[in-house]
Symmetry: C2
Subunit: 591 residues, 2 copies
């Protein structure tokens, strides 16, 4: 874990006021996360670290705050940077203006594509400690692949993870999603948990887990969870000692439901996290600052909301050098006009102004070329003989029903429908009238040639097809469409772009968001990615899809660990049975 | 630091209720230190660790609690076991019945006598992890010797301390008492601080430090303090991020003054500690349980008082495996009749009943012989030619005044008086009429022959002398008396006993408490030590001393780092000048 920075005589001289500090923030109202009060004080910084918080002392330079509020920089306790479609070096450009000075990244998505090399690439792009104006912390992905029911690009064992714990930026074993594996004592899972406990701590992920199984999961030493969706669930977990991360991201939004768990007594047991945050939301709505504002809007005391955003994640991850405006800590600071307007005016990292009025100030640390050079050579390997016939689904016996995934664009959980398919010639085809569209998941990592074929209701496309190489967790290529030609064209376009998301119609690609970094992230500036994504989403509207972002539900349809019916490259999965099921229902099921 | 215990399939099976737990504590009211509520729940234990807190599960054995309160075992966040006059193996017998299941020991006193060997001896006597029914944690003594103005038995550098951090029981560098050394950046001191920060954390000790110097001390990364005596001082330290240990020991009692700092918002930033606790107080009044009861008496919510006694020190020292009644944590538990009667009825350590109704249940782990075998060979080396003449103080010029230490038996701080001495023949002698008694501090570690001679007001002895080899911090032999003969006899008696405290009168020793372990601790059972001490204190009353325990102020008179006038083996020290001063005042001072 990150070492507490060593103390030097020069730093102490500045702290005493015997030698000038570098900067003095004068006349501010400091958010004190220890007493949970706002107090008038001057903040002095030397060598990037706060050396004094109290009466003003000697400094080479002064920043007049004129009564404005100064708080610690925000920390996202858990997120996957891949969902921003940006590598860390670009992510920081969107996050920092929102007051984010620290983030705990779980590079789970790229780990599923590139394994250890993927995690190391993200860490390489993030730079060494202090190289970028944000405190990148890492958790090591614990569940790659998600399970045996899909083909991922890599598999990570405890032995693979162990050497990476030597990196001081690593703060935990990442969310242990295989909660049945923990609860029922799977040896490989316990090996990873015990590794995490030995080297750091272990983050949790146990949606809906309650009662005896939750007791076992907590007993295993797993110390946090960010998957609670109901207040009762969160209360049960908190009472057992878990730190409760309240998640408010682009997909899952739990703040409103969980807000009542925060009170004066529990406040120190809570963190905020986004888990997944899309680039446009990050730019327009914000990051942790957005959660803080929303929480305050829901009646939470602002100082408590800020404490949860700062001291709490620092404490949870054993970081005593960040998370507070206090002597000895890094001068990661956010300035607000007032406590009633928590939109960051200025953001400082290690005492340097890095964002002002929403603008990121440092020069871009990376070009597209240098970003690409951080990461493994991208490739999307489709089956060699992929053609229109690859999407063919044979018609079943007359009168037979097929399993159809029932998708709700606001949920990761799906339903299962049994429907008589639309038959043309000897094939089952997409049926726009009933919104039953063909879905294919094509293995893209190692050329197995695997293609899972199925049907889904919910996208409402009337024309064309949309495709994505973001497809949790294995990130195979998922494509849904109204006809096989456009599905083929969309898939081939993504192979050519070496990853991304696209829409095709009438035999041509009409919008493409290239994601050449592992098929998950762009190498382009954040602003360009946001534009490309907006154009892509607009294009899907012209195909008849009414949803804001159909790629979000599309990317979760392959995930064979979230109920109920899913489609991986290996076939249709009944997650509750944790096994494959045929497309065509048997007679018993039809009844 | 102590590793989080590894999780096993058997433990998880018990947690799930699929295999019987070892014990089920049924029908209790659990003090939940996370939600800070009392909740009805059954507590199951397997392999010494809590595996379930909720509805009762299968267990081989059941303990019916019948609505009684069950709480985590108490942790003393900072104490010197030497002040109990007992080695750890005997200390546990007094502390455990009071609900203490963990204690953070700073073996500072023995470190001043025997250096690394002393610290290692205490750790050896404490046993390996789990060997004794208490969780012994250690901090490594940072300030040996206290300063250059006295002769200690050892000197500890950062290089001496470093290897001991490999012991997993070590949780911090111990209280950094040399706060001027920190504040002003003394290289040797910073080397130790940086070592502590690198390997663990650094505990503080900064009595009365405020303002700019406190900023520097905190900026150095020192994360706790237990020396606040006023509310304002504690508030200032808390606001800067220090964990505030509220100390309530046998000598210093700060709870009443500091109680108001604890509120719902600050509760997670507070610990309790005793620092120094005498054996009789430990037995009769209690330990951390005494502080908890007193705090509740002062209006603190009992659940908060218990949280401060349990979760908070565990969290401060990074121990996630103790400090709560929660799955995964060691089953260190205290049972009370009700939340309104916080006297422990039963105490469990790792699920085993170790004390009931004030009685300690395990067999004594050590005999006097085995205790002695843990420690370095004791010796008290007095000057070879020590005789009555050694105590002679020559008379000054007629009319001259001498410096006299003004002792208040309830304070460590002394005053300085300038008084015309009582002269007999050519000597200054003790003057019982004005309560100005002769004081000698004799170097006892290496036979330097050093004897510091001075005078003190406050003991009110009318006859005889009292002597002690407990004499902070160097623990030289301190003797105060009405005549040189009894002083010599008392000193020689302690040399013969190889350490201890005694009273002599009319040429004979009348009471002796032998402390043959480093001259600080007994090798006898705790009960015997308490008897011996009571007899000794009774004897001092017969000499005219009205104080409950004159050995307490006597043992602090040599300490040349607490103002104002002190006497070390090297001479009279003006602590504010941080230098020696002559016994006889010069003319200017006499004015």
């Amino acid at each position: 874990m990150s070492e507490y920075p060593a103390v030097t005589p020069e730093f102490l001289a500045a702290a005493r006021g015997d030698a000038p500090a570098d900067v003095l923030f004068r006349g501010g109202c400091v958010v004190n996360v220890f007493s949970r009060e706002i107090v008038k004080a001057d903040v002095a910084v030397f060598g990037g670290r706060i050396c004094s918080v109290g009466p003003g002392i000697l400094a080479r330079r002064t920043v007049e705050l004129g009564g404005r509020v100064i708080a610690p920089g925000f920390i996202d306790a858990h997120m996957h940077v891949e969902s921003t479609m940006l590598p860390p070096s670009e992510f920081v450009r969107l996050a920092a203006p929102h007051g984010t000075t620290g983030v705990v990244l779980d590079p789970h998505e790229i780990a599923n594509v590139h394994g250890v090399a993927g995690i190391e690439a993200v860490m390489r792009n993030a730079g060494e400690v202090g190289e970028q104006p944000i405190d990148f912390m890492f958790t090591l992905s614990s569940c790659v692949p998600s399970c045996h029911l899909e083909t991922s690009g890599a598999e990570l064992t405890a032995a693979d993870l162990e050497p990476m714990f030597d990196d001081e930026r690593v703060v935990a074993l990442a969310e242990m999603m295989n909660y049945p594996g923990v609860v029922f004592g799977d040896p490989g899972v316990l090996e990873k948990v015990n590794l995490g406990l030995r080297r750091r701590i272990v983050d949790g992920h146990c949606p809906g887990l309650r009662g005896a199984q939750l007791q076992a999961y907590v007993a295993a030493g797993i110390s946090s969870d960010h998957e609670s969706v109901t207040l009762d669930e969160a209360k049960e977990k908190l009472a057992l000692g878990m730190t409760i991360y309240i998640r408010e991201g682009s997909a899952a939004k739990n703040l409103e439901a969980l807000r009542p768990i925060v009170n004066e007594r529990t406040a120190s047991r809570i963190c905020w996290c986004t888990d997944d945050r899309h680039p446009a939301d990050l730019q327009h709505e914000g990051h942790i600052d957005h959660i803080v504002r929303k929480a305050v809007g829901l009646g939470l005391d602002p100082v408590t909301a800020i404490t949860i955003a700062t001291l709490n994640p620092a404490t949870h991850y054993g970081r005593r050098d960040v998370g507070a405006v206090a002597p000895g800590r890094w001068a990661n600071l956010v300035v607000f006009d007032s406590i009633d307007n928590l939109s960051p005016c200025q953001v400082y990292f290690k005492g340097e102004l890095i964002a002002e009025d929403g603008n990121y100030l440092p020069q871009r640390a990376h070009t597209p070329e240098s970003i690409r050079s951080c990461f493994p050579e991208p490739s999307v390997i489709l089956p060699e003989n992929l053609d229109i016939g690859s999407f063919h689904v044979s018609a079943p016996a007359v009168g037979a029903r097929i399993r159809v995934i029932d998708m709700d664009p606001t949920q990761l959980v799906t339903g299962e429908l049994h429907i008589e398919p639309l038959i043309e010639s000897d094939s089952i085809v997409s049926d726009m009238a009933r919104d039953v569209l063909k879905l294919a998941v094509i293995e893209r990592h190692s050329g197995t040639g695997n293609i899972g074929l199925g049907f889904v209701r919910g996208f409402q496309l009337q024309r064309g097809a949309i495709a994505s190489t973001v497809g949790h967790d294995a990130h195979n290529l998922a494509v849904v469409g109204t006809n096989d030609t456009d599905m083929l064209i969309a898939a081939k376009a993504l192979a050519q772009a070496r990853g991304g998301q696209c829409a095709a119609v009438d035999g041509a690609v009409v919008a493409l968001l290239p994601l050449p970094i592992a098929g998950l992230m762009s190498d382009q500036p954040a602003e360009r990615v946001i534009e490309q994504q907006a154009a892509l989403l607009d294009a899907t509207k012209t195909l008849g899809c009414p949803h804001h972002d159909p790629f979000m539900p599309l990317s979760f349809l392959p995930l064979p660990v979230i109920p109920k019916l899913k489609l991986s490259d290996k076939g249709l999965v009944d997650v509750e049975r944790f096994d494959f099921v045929p497309l065509v229902c048997d007679r018993v099921e039809e009844v």
